[in-house]
């Protein structure tokens, strides 16, 4: 005999079977090689900074959920991404207590006050990084050279600075290629940049590994390819034009593409789905603005690196892009019959 009660539900009754936390988890997978390479080139210092930022993000997310008596949302992995990304933007010799504060700020200020995942206007990791930059201008621009021989055995004294103390940096801090260019007019070869043999923040070193991570996500349809393509193309074109105008003053477009945080920003930060537009045309515009702003800040601004601020600024206008650029709805503005 057939049972009498059946479960009912509304259509559709089948689903693609992909979930948001799966996407987030995959972003974490794609970031791990970047983390590994960072640790390989900067040693334990980088590991400690990234781990601290991540731990602080996840902890903050959990605590905030508990405080507002909600079920914890750490399972969606978005806090892990914020933490890793933040860690990757910091110098490897960054004091850990500051990194910890960054992690807390990213989640609390960058995400939670907006209403949590899905409602944040800005990329949380970049909010944290901007606040840290304002609060600790010296620490955040003191770079640590890569491939020091003792990088796996010794910890930079600065990173263990006690909370609320100013760090003392070792004498050997290196200038980043962008700063070297901007302030001293020295350029670094593209090959060195692409393979990360330079000093810089933990994650702005190996463009190749970042690109591979991005390709993985694009192939799995978990990242919108239009954003990195738009960012990199517009940055390349604008710096190319400048280079053609005067190659004495302006660096080559390849240098621009592979130096600093542009690659990491284009692939892993500008692509944050929540803070980017939703329509294809909107995405092109959004990416284009980021690329152009980055070059403008680098060339004419007071900072050597402009990716972070360009993404934050463009995040702010992203909702407006969405309200201006909409898909043409089917059956409105009648298409002409094929004649």
């Amino acid at each position: 005999m057939l049972k009498k009660t059946l479960d009912i539900s509304t259509s559709p009754h089948i689903f693609k079977g992909r979930s948001t936390n799966q996407i987030m988890k995959n972003v974490v997978w794609a970031l791990l090689p970047v983390v590994f390479f960072s640790v390989y080139s900067f040693g334990i210092n980088a590991l400690l900074v990234i781990a601290t930022a991540t731990f602080a993000s996840v902890l903050t997310e959990h605590v905030l959920c508990k405080i507002s008596k909600k079920e914890t949302t750490v399972g969606d992995y978005s806090a892990v991404i914020t933490g890793i990304l933040l860690g990757l933007t910091l110098p490897p010799s960054f004091p850990l207590w500051m990194a910890f504060i960054g992690g807390v700020i990213g989640i609390a200020l960058g995400k939670y006050i907006f209403g949590g995942l899905g409602y944040n206007v800005f990329n949380p990791a970049l909010v944290a990084r901007a606040v840290l930059q304002a609060a600790f201008p010296v620490a955040i621009t003191t770079w640590h050279p890569a491939f020091l021989p003792d990088r796996f055995s010794s910890v930079a004294s600065s990173i263990l600075t006690l909370p609320f103390m100013e760090p003392k940096f070792d004498a050997i801090s290196g200038a980043t290629p962008l700063a070297a260019f901007k302030f001293d007019g020295i350029t670094t070869s593209t090959a060195e940049l692409a393979f990360g043999q330079i000093s810089g923040s933990a994650g702005e070193t190996s463009a190749v590994i970042i690109i591979l991570g991005g390709l993985y996500l694009i192939a799995r349809n978990m990242m919108n390819w239009r954003i990195p393509v738009a960012v990199l193309t517009s940055a390349f074109v604008l710096s190319g034009i400048l280079y053609l105008i005067n190659s004495e003053v302006y660096p080559s477009p390849w240098f621009m593409l592979f130096s600093g945080g542009l690659m990491l920003g284009a692939v892993f930060m500008a692509t944050d789905m929540v803070s980017s537009p939703i329509t294809p045309i909107g995405l092109w515009i959004y990416g284009g603005i980021i690329g152009i702003l980055t070059i403008v800040i680098r060339v004419w601004g007071g900072l050597s690196e402009g990716v972070m601020y360009s993404i934050l600024l463009t995040n702010a206008i992203s909702p407006h892009i969405d309200s201006v650029i909409k898909n043409r709805v089917y059956g409105t503005q009648q298409k002409m019959k094929a004649a």
Partner: protein, 452 residues
């Protein structure tokens, strides 16, 4: 301007759910057993319910008129079996509402011969006579919509129909009804097209078939009659290509203006099984008594395509084919747009194209709902090119007016593609269905007030 005429042979966006048709697409249509009692709701089509013309205790013959059409947007109902009207009472329907209905007790040893009515000759009948014949046969869209076919075929004053499109797309996963009809009933289909060309005045007919039914396309192409302007067009597989708007865009490359009917672009779309039914019934003046239904899904033992009398109780059907002990959900129609059945005491109606049985294992309805992460998957899926993400957020704030005025809510035809792809498992289409209902209700109230 060649660039703007790039006609891709399909519509924009859409999704590719697993087809799940292999298990039944090769099984020929088989006659189903007659149930001891047939239950016929009068409201089984869109429009006014049919009006009963028999009384309790009356003996009726198979094919005899049981209820007549109640107005233009309505159709009559014929006896699917010979038997005795046992009771006229309220019967349950899938929507949960009750409808007036007839309980018909089948005569066990009747030959079940079918009564003949007024035959309509395809060569001599006028368009008006054919239109009347189609209504008299009780024909509604068999693809699932159950909209009275003759209403759709009545070309409004001032419009002309150039193209008759026969819908053999069957884009819903699991269903193979139309596929089998195309393979087995080509003569009926072409006869139906003959009537339809005449009634619409169309110059040509195109049968649209998705590429996963190439055998059906080949079969029909092979049997194309020389005296009819019919062609077969094979389309790439994509859901929801079977929707009228999408199919017209796929075949003609034009869009139907928002809020308008296909006739606006000179087209009329008729489902292929409906066409076959017209071709089979009209020459004899008979009424529709049975239809082909795919019964499938992991919970079914004897899967297949069955010819089942209208009014057969669902419980009887499932007992005949044998279902798993663990069945958890039963759908009428396909898995994308079909309705879940809450009660096995409802019966097969004219619009039932499939019965799908899922056990606990297959029901993979996600339980965790995440916030919208603006991934854009829904935007890339929506065939109407809406922004379901934004609509979903607005629905949460009950901003119905904005949904309608700025985001074209009323153009959503509830295909479910957005919900299917959403990684955050937001029940978007459910929100939209509800929002549309509320908007319609408000509008009706406004109208009433204006009249008062």
């Amino acid at each position: 301007m060649a660039l703007f005429n790039l006609h891709k042979n399909t519509f924009k966006h859409g999704i590719h759910p697993p087809e799940s048709k292999d298990e039944t697409s090769g099984l020929p249509i088989r006659q189903f057993a007659f149930a001891p009692v047939i239950i016929l709701p009068m409201a089984q089509h869109i429009g006014a319910p049919s009006e009963i013309v028999v009384r309790e205790g009356q003996e009726v013959q198979r094919g005899q008129l049981l209820a007549k059409a109640n107005g233009f947007v309505s159709v009559p109902l014929h006896a699917p079996v010979s038997g005795k009207v046992r009771k006229i009472a309220n019967v349950p329907t899938i929507s949960g509402k009750m409808s007036t209905g007839i309980y018909l007790e089948a005569f066990p040893f009747s030959t079940q011969e079918v009564l003949e009515g007024n035959p309509i000759d395809p060569d001599t009948a006028t368009p008006e006579e054919i239109l009347q014949g189609i209504q008299d046969a009780g024909i509604v869209g068999l693809g699932g919509a159950a909209f009275p076919t003759h209403v759709k075929l009545k070309i409004p004053e001032g419009k002309t129909c150039e193209t008759l499109i026969i819908n053999g797309v069957e884009c819903e996963p699991y269903l193979t009804t139309d596929h089998r009809v195309m393979l087995e009933q080509e003569a009926d289909i072409f006869m139906g097209i003959k009537y339809l060309l005449k009634v619409t005045g169309a110059e040509r007919a195109i049968i649209g078939i998705e590429a996963n039914k190439q055998d059906a396309a080949d079969h029909l192409t092979k049997h194309l009659p020389k005296d009819l302007p019919v062609t077969v067009q094979v389309l790439p597989v994509k859901y929801p290509q079977g929707a009228e708007k999408m199919l017209i865009t796929s075949i003609l490359g034009t869009e139907i203006p928002s809020g308008k009917l296909p006739i606006e672009v000179g087209a009329v779309v008729v489902n292929v099984a409906t066409t076959a039914e017209i071709g089979r019934l009209l020459p004899h003046g008979r009424g529709i008594q049975e239809r082909v239904i795919t019964i499938t899904g992991p919970g079914v033992k004897k899967k297949g395509n069955y010819l089942i009398p209208v009014g057969t109780p669902l419980r009887f059907v499932l007992e005949q084919v044998g279902v798993d002990e663990e069945i958890s959900e039963v759908y009428m129609g396909g898995p994308m747009m079909g309705m879940a059945v809450s009660n096995l005491d409802i019966s097969i109606v004219k619009g039932t194209s499939g019965i799908l049985v899922f056990t606990k294992k297959e029901v993979n309805r996600p339980t965790t709902i995440y916030p919208c992460i603006k991934c854009g998957a829904c935007v890339d899926a929506c065939p109407i090119l809406l922004n379901p993400s934004k609509l979903g957020i607005l629905a949460k704030f009950e901003a119905y007016d904005e949904m309608v005025s700025d985001f074209n809510l009323m153009d959503c035809f509830e295909c479910g593609s957005c919900t299917y792809v959403c990684p955050s498992h937001i029940p978007l289409v459910q929100y939209f269905r509800q929002a549309k209902r509320i908007v319609r209700k408000r509008e009706a109230e406004k109208k009433e007030k204006a009249h008062a």
